[in-house]
Amino acid sequence: MDQPQGSAELDEAVMDCSLEELREFLEADLADVPDDLEFKQNLRDKLWDLVQTRNRRRGPSDAN
């Protein structure tokens, strides 16, 4: 699986966006766009593996 684009810190630093943009994003799920449930499920499984791998790498002492 591909690595993420950059650190969360970097990503958070470039998240300047207007209310209008956020509203558009929030309402995007109202659009009638067909999607592939198999893709959604496969992606979900890959992402959960990724989360677990990252959390294991951090170790229990960093979890809080």
């Binding site: 958070e12 979900r44 959390n55």
Partner: protein, 209 residues
């Protein structure tokens, strides 16, 4: 997948920030809730810009990988909503930039290949060697493809079948067929560029920069 329904997940009263905290403790239910809360939003947002399901799936995977890959180090200096939105927006913009650059690269490589083929009628031994290297590089790339990708490429470019017919025969969506053709084409272009003399490669690399 959790047994909770999609609508249950989206109605969960836990805030995004609480879910992120729980995901850091490997709480799978929290992960499912956050994923369900944002999947359709991100998918539609991306699709409405790219207008192609194959590209949208690629970009959605990239965006969510960035989100969940960085969840452990998310510091909360912005709201989760705007963080995810920003990542989705950046991913789409990068995807569009890459597509434009790729199209230009493919067009250029096709012109180069045609030029080589046209000049091969009066080819020098050096040109012959270059063409042989290109052919070997292309053959190596094809050997590395999965069977169905090579089959789709052959149906389209050797048999001249339309996308719809290939889609029917291979039981894959037209977008998946197009996406596969595009990937194979990229491999062929890279192989052809790799088989060219260093002078041509330098020109190609410079124009891609």
């Amino acid at each position: 997948m959790s047994r909770r329904s999609e609508s249950d997940c989206r109605r969960s009263e836990r805030s995004d920030e609480e879910l992120v905290e729980a995901i850091r403790r490997s709480d799978e239910e929290a992960f499912t809730v956050l994923y369900e809360r944002y999947y359709q939003r991100v998918y539609n947002f991306v699709y409405l810009r790219l207008r192609n399901h194959a590209d949208a799936e690629e970009a959605v995977q990239e965006a969510f990988t960035a989100v969940f890959g960085a969840v452990a180090s998310f510091r909360g200096t912005s709201a989760v909503l705007s963080w995810i939105y920003g990542i989705a927006k950046n991913t789409v913009n990068n995807h569009i930039r890459r597509t434009v650059a790729q199209k230009s690269r493919i067009d250029r490589a096709e012109s180069e290949l045609i030029r080589h083929l046209e000049s091969s009628l009066a080819a020098s031994p050096e040109d012959d060697l270059t063409l042989r290297r290109c052919a070997e590089a292309v053959r190596d790339e094809f050997e590395g493809l999965s069977g169905w990708q090579a089959e789709i490429f052959a149906m389209r470019h050797l048999d001249g079948l339309p996308i719809a017919e290939i889609s029917d025969r291979m039981s894959r969506s037209p977008d998946a067929v197009r996406s596969s053709l595009c990937r194979v084409k990229r491999l062929v272009v890279a192989a052809v560029e790799g088989g060219q003399p260093s002078e041509s490669r330098t020109v190609a690399e410079r124009s891609m920069a």
